[in-house]
Protein backbone atom coordinates (compact mmCIF):
# COMPACT_ATOMS: atom_id res chain seq x y z
CA UNK A 1 0.00 0.00 0.00
CA UNK A 2 1.39 3.35 -1.01
CA UNK A 3 1.78 5.89 1.79
CA UNK A 4 -0.29 9.07 1.63
CA UNK A 5 1.51 11.49 -0.72
CA UNK A 6 3.27 14.43 0.90
CA UNK A 7 1.35 17.01 -1.10
CA UNK A 8 -1.94 15.51 0.04
CA UNK A 9 -0.86 15.71 3.69
CA UNK A 10 -0.02 19.37 3.25
CA UNK A 11 -3.31 19.98 1.44
CA UNK A 12 -5.18 18.33 4.33
CA UNK A 13 -3.53 20.65 6.80
CA UNK A 14 -4.05 23.78 4.70
CA UNK A 15 -7.70 22.88 4.17
CA UNK A 16 -8.34 22.43 7.88
CA UNK A 17 -6.66 25.76 8.67
CA UNK A 18 -8.60 27.56 5.98
CA UNK A 19 -11.82 26.01 7.17
CA UNK A 20 -11.27 27.13 10.75
CA UNK A 21 -10.39 30.61 9.51
CA UNK A 22 -13.55 30.71 7.38
CA UNK A 23 -15.73 29.70 10.32
CA UNK A 24 -14.05 32.42 12.38
CA UNK A 25 -14.61 35.01 9.69
CA UNK A 26 -18.27 34.12 9.28
CA UNK A 27 -18.98 34.49 12.98
CA UNK A 28 -16.61 37.22 14.13
CA UNK A 29 -15.41 39.22 11.13
CA UNK A 30 -18.48 39.57 8.94
CA UNK A 31 -20.82 42.28 10.23
CA UNK A 32 -24.38 41.59 11.28
CA UNK A 33 -26.75 42.06 8.37
CA UNK A 34 -29.23 44.83 9.16
CA UNK A 35 -32.47 43.31 7.87
CA UNK A 36 -32.04 39.56 8.14
CA UNK A 37 -29.94 39.43 11.30
CA UNK A 38 -27.89 36.43 12.40
CA UNK A 39 -29.49 33.97 10.01
CA UNK A 40 -27.83 35.77 7.12
CA UNK A 41 -24.51 34.24 8.22
CA UNK A 42 -25.65 30.92 6.76
CA UNK A 43 -25.34 32.56 3.35
CA UNK A 44 -21.52 32.34 3.26
CA UNK A 45 -21.41 28.56 3.53
CA UNK A 46 -24.68 28.09 1.67
CA UNK A 47 -23.35 29.64 -1.52
CA UNK A 48 -19.96 27.99 -1.04
CA UNK A 49 -21.43 24.49 -0.70
CA UNK A 50 -23.71 25.07 -3.69
CA UNK A 51 -20.64 26.21 -5.63
CA UNK A 52 -18.79 23.00 -4.71
CA UNK A 53 -21.87 21.01 -5.74
CA UNK A 54 -21.93 22.56 -9.19
CA UNK A 55 -18.15 22.36 -9.55
CA UNK A 56 -18.31 18.62 -8.88
CA UNK A 57 -20.97 18.08 -11.52
CA UNK A 58 -18.89 20.01 -14.00
CA UNK A 59 -15.88 17.84 -13.12
CA UNK A 60 -18.02 14.71 -13.53
CA UNK A 61 -19.20 15.78 -16.99
CA UNK A 62 -15.63 16.60 -18.09
CA UNK A 63 -14.41 13.28 -16.68
CA UNK A 64 -17.25 11.59 -18.59
CA UNK A 65 -16.11 13.09 -21.89
CA UNK A 66 -12.50 12.24 -21.07
CA UNK A 67 -13.46 8.64 -20.30
CA UNK A 68 -15.38 8.18 -23.54
CA UNK A 69 -12.50 9.62 -25.55
CA UNK A 70 -9.58 7.94 -23.77
CA UNK A 71 -11.26 4.80 -22.34
CA UNK A 72 -9.03 5.11 -19.28
CA UNK A 73 -10.50 3.81 -16.00
CA UNK A 74 -8.89 6.63 -14.07
CA UNK A 75 -11.46 9.08 -15.46
CA UNK A 76 -14.29 6.86 -14.30
CA UNK A 77 -13.00 7.06 -10.74
CA UNK A 78 -12.72 10.85 -11.04
CA UNK A 79 -16.31 11.12 -12.29
CA UNK A 80 -17.78 8.90 -9.59
CA UNK A 81 -15.79 10.68 -6.87
CA UNK A 82 -16.94 14.10 -8.04
CA UNK A 83 -20.60 13.05 -8.15
CA UNK A 84 -20.49 11.49 -4.67
CA UNK A 85 -18.91 14.57 -3.11
CA UNK A 86 -21.17 17.00 -4.92
CA UNK A 87 -24.30 15.10 -4.00
CA UNK A 88 -23.48 15.60 -0.32
CA UNK A 89 -22.47 19.24 -0.71
CA UNK A 90 -25.52 20.09 -2.76
CA UNK A 91 -27.64 18.50 -0.07
CA UNK A 92 -25.93 20.67 2.54
CA UNK A 93 -26.65 23.69 0.35
CA UNK A 94 -30.34 22.77 0.17
CA UNK A 95 -30.59 22.24 3.93
CA UNK A 96 -28.73 25.45 4.78
CA UNK A 97 -30.91 27.27 2.27
CA UNK A 98 -34.00 25.95 4.04
CA UNK A 99 -32.65 27.19 7.36
CA UNK A 100 -32.30 30.63 5.84
CA UNK A 101 -35.62 30.50 4.00
CA UNK A 102 -37.76 29.73 7.05
CA UNK A 103 -37.24 33.12 8.77
CA UNK A 104 -36.74 35.07 5.52
CA UNK A 105 -39.52 33.73 3.30
CA UNK A 106 -41.58 32.16 6.08
CA UNK A 107 -41.37 28.68 4.58
CA UNK A 108 -38.83 25.84 4.49
CA UNK A 109 -39.34 25.21 0.84
CA UNK A 110 -40.84 26.91 -2.16
CA UNK A 111 -41.03 25.82 -5.80
CA UNK A 112 -38.69 28.50 -6.96
CA UNK A 113 -36.30 27.96 -9.95
CA UNK A 114 -33.08 27.56 -8.03
CA UNK A 115 -34.61 25.34 -5.35
CA UNK A 116 -36.49 23.18 -7.82
CA UNK A 117 -33.43 22.85 -10.03
CA UNK A 118 -31.35 21.92 -7.00
CA UNK A 119 -33.82 19.17 -6.11
CA UNK A 120 -33.79 17.86 -9.67
CA UNK A 121 -29.99 17.92 -9.80
CA UNK A 122 -29.94 15.74 -6.70
CA UNK A 123 -32.35 13.33 -8.37
CA UNK A 124 -30.30 13.21 -11.58
CA UNK A 125 -27.16 12.28 -9.70
CA UNK A 126 -28.97 9.87 -7.39
CA UNK A 127 -30.15 8.18 -10.60
CA UNK A 128 -26.50 8.15 -11.72
CA UNK A 129 -25.55 6.16 -8.62
CA UNK A 130 -28.53 3.80 -9.04
CA UNK A 131 -27.53 3.19 -12.64
CA UNK A 132 -24.00 2.27 -11.62
CA UNK A 133 -25.35 -0.01 -8.92
CA UNK A 134 -27.32 -1.99 -11.48
CA UNK A 135 -24.28 -2.82 -13.60
CA UNK A 136 -21.73 -5.47 -12.76
CA UNK A 137 -19.27 -5.22 -15.61
CA UNK A 138 -16.89 -2.40 -14.54
CA UNK A 139 -16.14 -1.34 -18.09
CA UNK A 140 -19.81 -1.00 -19.00
CA UNK A 141 -20.53 0.73 -15.69
CA UNK A 142 -17.88 3.30 -16.51
CA UNK A 143 -19.23 3.86 -20.01
CA UNK A 144 -22.86 4.26 -18.95
CA UNK A 145 -21.89 6.44 -16.01
CA UNK A 146 -19.94 8.74 -18.32
CA UNK A 147 -22.85 9.01 -20.76
CA UNK A 148 -25.37 9.72 -18.01
CA UNK A 149 -23.15 12.32 -16.34
CA UNK A 150 -22.86 14.16 -19.66
CA UNK A 151 -26.61 13.99 -20.38
CA UNK A 152 -27.39 15.17 -16.86
CA UNK A 153 -25.04 18.08 -17.19
CA UNK A 154 -26.68 19.15 -20.48
CA UNK A 155 -30.20 18.82 -19.11
CA UNK A 156 -29.78 20.70 -15.84
CA UNK A 157 -29.26 24.20 -17.36
CA UNK A 158 -32.33 23.62 -19.54
CA UNK A 159 -34.31 22.72 -16.45
CA UNK A 160 -33.15 25.92 -14.81
CA UNK A 161 -34.07 28.04 -17.82
CA UNK A 162 -37.47 26.41 -18.11
CA UNK A 163 -38.36 27.08 -14.49
CA UNK A 164 -36.77 30.52 -14.68
CA UNK A 165 -39.38 31.52 -17.23
CA UNK A 166 -41.67 31.78 -14.23
CA UNK A 167 -40.92 34.51 -11.77
CA UNK A 168 -38.23 34.11 -9.12
CA UNK A 169 -37.93 35.31 -5.53
CA UNK A 170 -34.44 33.98 -4.82
CA UNK A 171 -32.01 36.80 -3.91
CA UNK A 172 -29.52 37.59 -6.65
CA UNK A 173 -26.25 38.42 -4.96
CA UNK A 174 -23.96 38.47 -7.94
CA UNK A 175 -25.28 40.81 -10.60
CA UNK A 176 -28.23 43.09 -10.14
CA UNK A 177 -31.93 42.63 -9.69
CA UNK A 178 -34.80 43.72 -7.52
CA UNK A 179 -34.08 41.04 -4.91
CA UNK A 180 -30.34 41.73 -4.72
CA UNK A 181 -28.73 42.89 -1.50
CA UNK A 182 -25.51 44.85 -1.25
CA UNK A 183 -22.54 43.44 0.60
CA UNK A 184 -20.22 45.52 2.70
CA UNK A 185 -16.47 44.99 2.04
CA UNK A 186 -16.11 42.75 5.10
CA UNK A 187 -19.03 40.65 3.93
CA UNK A 188 -17.60 40.36 0.45
CA UNK A 189 -14.22 39.29 1.85
CA UNK A 190 -15.86 36.64 4.03
CA UNK A 191 -17.91 35.46 1.08
CA UNK A 192 -14.96 35.13 -1.29
CA UNK A 193 -12.87 33.53 1.44
CA UNK A 194 -15.61 30.92 2.02
CA UNK A 195 -15.79 30.17 -1.69
CA UNK A 196 -12.04 29.67 -1.80
CA UNK A 197 -12.06 27.53 1.34
CA UNK A 198 -14.76 25.23 0.03
CA UNK A 199 -12.95 24.89 -3.26
CA UNK A 200 -9.99 23.64 -1.24
CA UNK A 201 -12.25 21.28 0.72
CA UNK A 202 -13.54 19.95 -2.58
CA UNK A 203 -10.07 19.44 -4.03
CA UNK A 204 -8.92 17.71 -0.87
CA UNK A 205 -11.93 15.37 -0.66
CA UNK A 206 -11.75 14.64 -4.37
CA UNK A 207 -8.14 13.63 -4.07
CA UNK A 208 -8.89 11.37 -1.11
CA UNK A 209 -11.86 9.80 -2.88
CA UNK A 210 -9.88 9.16 -6.08
CA UNK A 211 -7.14 7.57 -4.01
CA UNK A 212 -9.75 5.41 -2.28
CA UNK A 213 -11.18 4.41 -5.66
CA UNK A 214 -7.79 3.34 -6.94
CA UNK A 215 -7.05 1.35 -3.79
CA UNK A 216 -10.44 -0.35 -4.08
CA UNK A 217 -9.57 -1.30 -7.62
CA UNK A 218 -6.24 -2.75 -6.47
CA UNK A 219 -8.05 -4.79 -3.82
CA UNK A 220 -10.38 -6.16 -6.50
CA UNK A 221 -7.44 -7.09 -8.69
CA UNK A 222 -5.64 -8.80 -5.80
CA UNK A 223 -8.78 -10.73 -4.86
CA UNK A 224 -9.03 -12.04 -8.41
CA UNK A 225 -5.40 -13.07 -8.23
CA UNK A 226 -5.98 -15.08 -5.05
CA UNK A 227 -8.97 -16.84 -6.57
CA UNK A 228 -6.96 -17.95 -9.59
Amino acid sequence: MQPKPRTLQILDLVTVLFFLAAVGMVFFYAPLEAVMGQVQRVFYFHVATAWVGMLGFLVAAIAGVAYLVKQDRKWDIVGLSAVEISLVFFFIAIVSGSIWAKPSWGTWWTWEPRLTTAAIVELVYAAYLLLRQGLEDPERRARFGAVYAILGFISVPLTFISIRLFRTIHPVVVGSGAAAFDMSPAMLQTFLFSLWTFSLVFADLLWHRIRLGRLAERVEALKLKIND
Partner: protein
Protein backbone atom coordinates in the same frame (compact mmCIF):
# COMPACT_ATOMS: atom_id res chain seq x y z
CA UNK B 1 -26.27 7.68 -47.35
CA UNK B 2 -28.86 5.56 -49.12
CA UNK B 3 -27.69 2.50 -47.21
CA UNK B 4 -28.25 4.46 -43.99
CA UNK B 5 -31.84 5.30 -44.88
CA UNK B 6 -32.52 1.74 -46.02
CA UNK B 7 -31.21 0.35 -42.71
CA UNK B 8 -33.19 2.90 -40.73
CA UNK B 9 -36.38 2.15 -42.62
CA UNK B 10 -35.81 -1.62 -42.23
CA UNK B 11 -35.64 -1.24 -38.44
CA UNK B 12 -38.77 0.91 -38.30
CA UNK B 13 -40.55 -1.56 -40.55
CA UNK B 14 -39.47 -4.51 -38.39
CA UNK B 15 -40.83 -2.82 -35.25
CA UNK B 16 -44.14 -1.96 -36.88
CA UNK B 17 -44.56 -5.42 -38.39
CA UNK B 18 -43.79 -7.10 -35.07
CA UNK B 19 -46.28 -4.84 -33.36
CA UNK B 20 -49.03 -5.48 -35.91
CA UNK B 21 -48.63 -9.21 -35.28
CA UNK B 22 -48.29 -9.23 -31.49
CA UNK B 23 -50.05 -5.98 -30.48
CA UNK B 24 -48.57 -6.37 -27.02
CA UNK B 25 -46.90 -2.97 -26.87
CA UNK B 26 -49.67 -0.69 -28.08
CA UNK B 27 -52.44 -2.50 -26.23
CA UNK B 28 -50.66 -2.18 -22.89
CA UNK B 29 -49.74 1.45 -23.57
CA UNK B 30 -53.30 2.37 -24.50
CA UNK B 31 -54.99 0.61 -21.60
CA UNK B 32 -52.47 2.11 -19.21
CA UNK B 33 -52.99 5.62 -20.65
CA UNK B 34 -56.75 5.36 -20.17
CA UNK B 35 -56.22 4.09 -16.65
CA UNK B 36 -54.04 7.08 -15.82
CA UNK B 37 -56.79 9.41 -17.02
CA UNK B 38 -59.29 7.55 -14.84
CA UNK B 39 -57.01 7.69 -11.82
CA UNK B 40 -56.68 11.42 -12.29
CA UNK B 41 -60.43 11.71 -12.54
CA UNK B 42 -60.85 10.00 -9.17
CA UNK B 43 -58.06 12.05 -7.68
CA UNK B 44 -59.59 15.33 -8.82
CA UNK B 45 -63.24 14.33 -8.54
CA UNK B 46 -64.03 16.79 -5.78
CA UNK B 47 -62.95 19.86 -7.65
CA UNK B 48 -64.39 20.29 -11.13
CA UNK B 49 -62.71 23.63 -11.67
CA UNK B 50 -59.29 22.28 -10.74
CA UNK B 51 -59.78 19.39 -13.15
CA UNK B 52 -60.47 21.78 -15.96
CA UNK B 53 -57.40 23.90 -15.30
CA UNK B 54 -55.00 20.94 -15.05
CA UNK B 55 -55.95 19.40 -18.40
CA UNK B 56 -52.49 19.93 -19.89
CA UNK B 57 -50.81 18.49 -16.81
CA UNK B 58 -52.97 15.35 -16.85
CA UNK B 59 -52.33 14.87 -20.56
CA UNK B 60 -48.56 15.09 -20.24
CA UNK B 61 -48.38 12.85 -17.20
CA UNK B 62 -50.42 10.32 -19.17
CA UNK B 63 -48.10 10.53 -22.18
CA UNK B 64 -44.99 10.32 -20.03
CA UNK B 65 -46.18 7.27 -18.06
CA UNK B 66 -47.53 5.40 -21.07
CA UNK B 67 -44.33 6.36 -22.90
CA UNK B 68 -42.03 4.64 -20.39
CA UNK B 69 -44.10 1.49 -20.74
CA UNK B 70 -43.61 1.49 -24.49
CA UNK B 71 -39.93 2.40 -24.35
CA UNK B 72 -39.18 -0.39 -21.89
CA UNK B 73 -41.10 -2.98 -23.86
CA UNK B 74 -39.62 -2.01 -27.19
CA UNK B 75 -36.03 -2.36 -25.93
CA UNK B 76 -36.72 -5.46 -23.84
CA UNK B 77 -37.96 -7.24 -26.97
CA UNK B 78 -34.66 -6.57 -28.67
CA UNK B 79 -32.68 -7.77 -25.70
CA UNK B 80 -34.67 -10.88 -24.76
CA UNK B 81 -34.73 -12.50 -28.15
CA UNK B 82 -31.12 -11.65 -28.93
CA UNK B 83 -32.35 -9.33 -31.65
CA UNK B 84 -30.06 -6.52 -30.49
CA UNK B 85 -26.99 -8.68 -31.07
CA UNK B 86 -28.25 -9.38 -34.56
CA UNK B 87 -28.73 -5.68 -35.22
CA UNK B 88 -25.26 -4.88 -33.92
CA UNK B 89 -23.69 -7.59 -36.10
CA UNK B 90 -25.44 -6.24 -39.19
CA UNK B 91 -23.15 -4.07 -41.31
CA UNK B 92 -25.12 -0.87 -40.72
CA UNK B 93 -24.33 2.39 -39.05
CA UNK B 94 -25.06 2.30 -35.30
CA UNK B 95 -26.91 5.61 -35.49
CA UNK B 96 -29.32 3.99 -37.99
CA UNK B 97 -30.26 1.58 -35.19
CA UNK B 98 -30.83 4.46 -32.79
CA UNK B 99 -32.93 6.50 -35.21
CA UNK B 100 -34.82 3.42 -36.34
CA UNK B 101 -35.79 2.53 -32.78
CA UNK B 102 -36.56 6.16 -31.96
CA UNK B 103 -38.85 6.58 -34.96
CA UNK B 104 -40.62 3.33 -34.09
CA UNK B 105 -41.12 4.50 -30.51
CA UNK B 106 -42.28 7.91 -31.71
CA UNK B 107 -44.82 6.25 -33.95
CA UNK B 108 -46.25 4.30 -31.00
CA UNK B 109 -46.36 7.48 -28.92
CA UNK B 110 -48.30 9.22 -31.69
CA UNK B 111 -50.83 6.39 -31.84
CA UNK B 112 -51.38 6.59 -28.09
CA UNK B 113 -51.76 10.36 -28.32
CA UNK B 114 -54.12 10.03 -31.27
CA UNK B 115 -56.37 7.87 -29.09
CA UNK B 116 -56.00 9.78 -25.83
CA UNK B 117 -56.75 13.25 -27.24
CA UNK B 118 -60.21 12.46 -28.69
CA UNK B 119 -61.14 10.28 -25.70
CA UNK B 120 -60.18 13.05 -23.33
CA UNK B 121 -62.05 15.64 -25.40
CA UNK B 122 -65.11 13.43 -25.33
CA UNK B 123 -64.99 12.61 -21.62
CA UNK B 124 -64.46 16.17 -20.46
CA UNK B 125 -66.37 17.98 -23.16
CA UNK B 126 -63.46 20.12 -24.32
CA UNK B 127 -61.89 20.43 -27.73
CA UNK B 128 -58.23 19.46 -27.65
CA UNK B 129 -57.81 19.52 -31.39
CA UNK B 130 -56.13 22.88 -31.80
CA UNK B 131 -53.24 23.19 -34.27
CA UNK B 132 -51.05 24.81 -31.60
CA UNK B 133 -51.61 22.00 -29.13
CA UNK B 134 -50.86 19.39 -31.78
CA UNK B 135 -47.58 21.15 -32.51
CA UNK B 136 -46.68 21.03 -28.81
CA UNK B 137 -47.57 17.33 -28.66
CA UNK B 138 -45.35 16.72 -31.67
CA UNK B 139 -42.34 18.63 -30.31
CA UNK B 140 -42.71 17.27 -26.78
CA UNK B 141 -42.97 13.68 -27.97
CA UNK B 142 -39.88 14.04 -30.15
CA UNK B 143 -37.79 15.27 -27.22
CA UNK B 144 -39.18 12.65 -24.88
CA UNK B 145 -38.55 9.78 -27.27
CA UNK B 146 -35.07 11.04 -28.25
CA UNK B 147 -33.86 10.78 -24.65
CA UNK B 148 -36.10 7.85 -23.78
CA UNK B 149 -34.83 5.58 -26.55
CA UNK B 150 -31.24 6.21 -25.54
CA UNK B 151 -31.89 5.64 -21.83
CA UNK B 152 -34.02 2.55 -22.41
CA UNK B 153 -31.08 1.03 -24.30
CA UNK B 154 -29.06 1.71 -21.16
CA UNK B 155 -31.67 0.55 -18.64
CA UNK B 156 -32.30 -2.73 -20.40
CA UNK B 157 -28.68 -3.76 -19.85
CA UNK B 158 -28.80 -3.26 -16.08
CA UNK B 159 -29.81 -5.66 -13.35
CA UNK B 160 -32.86 -3.63 -12.31
CA UNK B 161 -34.05 -3.12 -15.93
CA UNK B 162 -37.64 -1.82 -16.20
CA UNK B 163 -37.58 -0.21 -12.79
CA UNK B 164 -34.64 1.94 -13.69
CA UNK B 165 -35.95 3.63 -16.84
CA UNK B 166 -38.35 6.10 -15.19
CA UNK B 167 -35.74 6.95 -12.56
CA UNK B 168 -33.18 7.72 -15.25
CA UNK B 169 -35.58 9.35 -17.66
CA UNK B 170 -37.86 11.65 -15.67
CA UNK B 171 -35.22 13.95 -14.15
CA UNK B 172 -33.74 14.48 -17.62
CA UNK B 173 -37.03 15.21 -19.43
CA UNK B 174 -38.29 17.72 -16.88
CA UNK B 175 -37.56 20.64 -19.26
CA UNK B 176 -39.76 18.95 -21.89
CA UNK B 177 -42.56 18.40 -19.40
CA UNK B 178 -42.45 21.94 -18.04
CA UNK B 179 -42.33 23.53 -21.47
CA UNK B 180 -44.96 21.20 -22.92
CA UNK B 181 -47.40 21.64 -20.04
CA UNK B 182 -47.05 25.42 -20.14
CA UNK B 183 -47.34 25.65 -23.91
CA UNK B 184 -50.34 23.30 -23.93
CA UNK B 185 -52.10 25.30 -21.23
CA UNK B 186 -51.32 28.47 -23.13
CA UNK B 187 -52.84 27.15 -26.35
CA UNK B 188 -55.89 25.75 -24.56
CA UNK B 189 -56.56 29.04 -22.83
CA UNK B 190 -55.76 31.08 -25.92
CA UNK B 191 -52.84 33.20 -24.73
CA UNK B 192 -50.97 35.68 -26.90
CA UNK B 193 -48.44 34.14 -29.26
CA UNK B 194 -45.64 36.23 -27.74
CA UNK B 195 -46.21 34.52 -24.39
CA UNK B 196 -46.17 31.05 -25.92
CA UNK B 197 -43.14 31.34 -28.18
CA UNK B 198 -40.47 31.04 -25.41
CA UNK B 199 -41.88 27.62 -24.51
CA UNK B 200 -41.95 26.49 -28.11
CA UNK B 201 -38.37 27.68 -28.54
CA UNK B 202 -37.36 25.77 -25.43
CA UNK B 203 -38.94 22.59 -26.78
CA UNK B 204 -37.22 23.07 -30.13
CA UNK B 205 -33.89 23.71 -28.42
CA UNK B 206 -34.26 20.63 -26.23
CA UNK B 207 -35.16 18.45 -29.21
CA UNK B 208 -32.18 19.60 -31.25
CA UNK B 209 -29.69 19.34 -28.37
CA UNK B 210 -30.77 15.91 -27.23
CA UNK B 211 -31.15 14.36 -30.68
CA UNK B 212 -27.60 15.51 -31.43
CA UNK B 213 -26.37 14.34 -28.01
CA UNK B 214 -28.02 10.92 -28.28
CA UNK B 215 -26.66 10.54 -31.80
CA UNK B 216 -23.15 11.13 -30.49
CA UNK B 217 -23.25 8.82 -27.45
CA UNK B 218 -25.42 5.95 -28.72
CA UNK B 219 -22.35 4.04 -29.96
CA UNK B 220 -21.02 3.86 -26.42
CA UNK B 221 -24.29 2.44 -25.12
CA UNK B 222 -24.58 -0.54 -27.44
CA UNK B 223 -20.88 -1.32 -27.68
CA UNK B 224 -20.11 -4.85 -26.51
Amino acid sequence: MRAFWRALWAIVWKDLAAEVRSRELLSSMLVFALLVILVFDFALVLDVKARHSVTAGVLWVTFAFAGTLGLNRSMAQEKDRGCMDGLLLAPVDRSAIYFGKAIGNLFFMFIVEAVVLPVYSLLYNTNLFKPGLLLVVLLGSVGYVAVGTLLSAMAVQTRTRDVLLPILLFPLVIPVLIAAVNASTAFLQGWELAEISPWINLLLGYDVIFIAGAFMVFDYIVEE
